[in-house]
């Protein structure tokens, strides 16, 4: 304290013409406080406060317009006996794991293809990213139309190729609906993986590849022993972001199936919406979406620990 007082007093002497506010901002701590104030206010009001409010809602029996009373963990224990909720949990895990595996595999493949030199490379890269930048809800409608059982262009193509003989009800068949939704999620996510991993690939020194080639490594070995380990840190961060977004996904399912048929595509977020907004049971809806929190926390902690371990090596 004393030392900094001396320093700031010296600053006053050096700049006597400066106003009090300017002098205050010369102190790093005051300047930092001022600079961070707008961010802290906005994030506090619309992230921290809703989180507390959400926890509070989830332990009451509030509905729209009715404040409700404290009921303890009744909402959460009710969820454990709610068969739709259990289906939604299972679906969310299947959706996240399957979609992530395919997005990573296909995204990496596309990144490796785009990492070569060919004519029209910049152009191709720009176009490839389109599914990621076009508003998801709008492009998902195109998929919904393509999946329409009566007018489906996909069915027509498969029929013409002789692969099917009767119509496929992509979104209406409970055993197919989740697969169809995953296909759209993969379609939207592959460009994000590809472009991010491409950026990672471009930081890898090509001489390493050449050295391995001279030592007689086959292309597959070069990928597995040279490229992949160097790409791992970037890959892990990309997967972290993608897993969280996929786990908490809402819009794709809302547009394609609304959680149906017979809850075959119900996820955490769509079920929370259905209960909290659709039927107005605020407290139970809040409990459903808060139930995501421990899972998200585990995902984040495990991945961050893994990323740290990878980066240390």
């Amino acid at each position: 304290m004393a030392v900094s007082d001396v320093i700031s007093q010296r600053a006053y002497v050096a700049a006597p013409q400066r106003s009090a506010a300017t002098r205050l901002l010369e102190d790093e701590r005051w300047l930092a406080a001022v600079l961070l104030l707008p961010t802290v206010i906005l994030l506090g009001l619309f992230i921290a406060y809703p989180f507390v409010e959400g926890v509070w809602l989830s332990v009451t029996d509030a509905t729209v317009g009715v404040p409700g009373h404290f009921v303890g963990l009744a909402n959460f224990t009710a969820l454990l006996h709610d068969s739709i909720f259990l289906v939604a949990v299972q679906n969310t895990f299947v959706y996240t794991v399957v979609a992530t595996v395919f997005k990573l595999a296909l995204g990496l493949w596309l990144a490796l293809l785009l990492n070569r030199h060919f004519r029209g490379k910049a152009f191709t890269r720009a176009f490839v990213l389109l599914p990621f930048i076009i508003p998801t809800v709008l492009s998902t409608f195109a998929w919904k139309w393509m999946f329409d059982p009566t007018f489906s262009v996909i069915n027509w193509t498969l029929f013409q190729l002789g692969l099917i003989h009767s119509r496929i009800n992509w979104l209406g068949d409970p055993s197919l609906a989740l697969i169809s939704v995953i296909i759209v999620n993969v379609w939207r996510g592959v460009p994000f993986y590809a472009i991010s991993l491409l950026a990672g690939l471009q930081t890898i020194n090509p001489e390493l590849q050449e050295a391995a080639a001279i030592d007689g490594a086959r292309p597959w070995q070069r990928f597995w022993h040279v490229t992949w380990p160097l790409l791992l840190p970037v890959t892990m961060v990309v997967v972290l972001f993608s897993v969280i977004q996929t786990f908490a996904d809402f819009q794709l399912v809302y547009v394609l199936t609304g959680g149906g048929p017979a809850n075959a595509t119900q996820l955490f977020a769509t079920y929370a919406y259905q209960i909290g907004v659709g039927t107005g049971l605020l407290s139970q809806g809040a409990a459903v979406s808060l139930a995501m929190f421990p899972f998200l926390l585990i995902i984040v902690v495990v991945q961050l620990l893994y990323i740290r371990r990878v980066e240390v090596h």
């Binding site: 600079l35 809703p50 070569r116 910049a122 490839v128 195109a142 809806g285 809040a286 808060l290 998200l296």
Partner: protein, 283 residues
């Protein structure tokens, strides 16, 4: 390039890449074709012998003119544009200041605050939308653009801050110190020396934030109720589907036109967008 015979190049490179491009871009082509296809062709089952999926012999603009004249589509576009621009500006302002403070100033609690902002970056919108809807109602912001303008920064600020911190860290400290020795205050050195150098980063963050707010769906769906207040995504979803009837021509025209502003900005700033995207996942 792949070494060896020509067929290998086709099998390992051109064909896979071609399939990828076809798969990734076909839905957009399908949007375009559907939006100019007359209804009598549109509702022809795929099993019908004269089903011609990939083109139309009688292109029509009727879906597009209907969309523009008989629905509130133009209003939704204006709403979305206003919300996206204002929330992007707010987020850039906050992100710039916070990014500077967290990357270049030493103060107690700085590390914890940085971690806190990174964690909010990972919070998905679907976690908090129900309590947040309550709060928006209590603040009397429901069904106004401000409900979105004030909540979108919750996912844009952490992103902007994170991205800009990377840019600020790359600027050598000496530049700032020189300016301070020449008599500039900290505040002025930040404003006139550091921020101008970070312009590419600001542009990247701004473009990325704009596309994210244009893309947002669940907050807009829950916080807005009247048709005149809706954004493009919500308007197209709720107003062009009446009961169980989907107006596919109008829907696809809406999807196409609703994507134009984002695609337009993207086409001009591809490099900045990619920099924002890859910067956002840098650990």
């Amino acid at each position: 390039m792949i070494e060896g015979a020509k067929w290998r190049r086709w099998v390992y490179f051109y064909i896979p890449l071609g399939v990828f491009i076809l798969w990734l871009l076909f839905p957009f082509y399908w949007m375009l074709v559907t939006s100019v296809r007359p209804d009598r062709e549109l509702y022809r089952p795929w099993m019908a012998p004269n089903y011609a999926p990939f083109w139309t012999s009688h292109p029509t603009l009727v879906h597009i003119t209907d969309l523009l004249t008989q629905t509130l589509f133009i209003r939704w576009m204006a709403n979305t544009l206003f919300i996206a621009i204002v929330s992007t500006l707010i987020s850039l302002f906050c992100g710039l200041l916070a990014g500077y403070a967290l990357s270049r100033l030493k103060f107690p609690g700085g590390g914890a605050l940085g971690t806190g902002i990174f964690i909010t970056y990972l919070v998905p919108q679907t976690l908090l939308f129900i309590p947040l809807a309550n709060i928006i109602r209590n603040f009397k912001l429901g069904d106004t653009p401000w409900a979105l303008i004030l909540t979108y920064p919750t996912f844009l600020i952490p992103f902007c801050t994170w991205l800009l911190m990377g840019y600020f860290k790359a600027i050598p400290r000496e530049l700032e110190e020189c300016a301070r020795i020449d008599g500039a205050t900290r505040w002025k050195a930040m404003l006139y020396i550091i921020f101008p150098i970070a312009v590419p980063g600001i542009l990247s963050a701004g473009i990325f934030a704009f596309t994210l707010s244009w893309n947002e769906f669940i907050y807009a769906l829950v916080f807005l109720s009247s048709a005149e207040q809706k954004t493009v995504s919500v308007g197209v979803t709720s107003e062009l589907v009446r009961g169980d009837v989907f107006y596919w021509g109008q829907l696809m025209a809406g999807a196409l036109l609703g994507s134009v502003p984002v695609a337009f900005i993207y086409s001009f700033f591809v490099e900045y967008y990619v920099a924002g995207l890859t910067g956002s996942v840098k650990g």
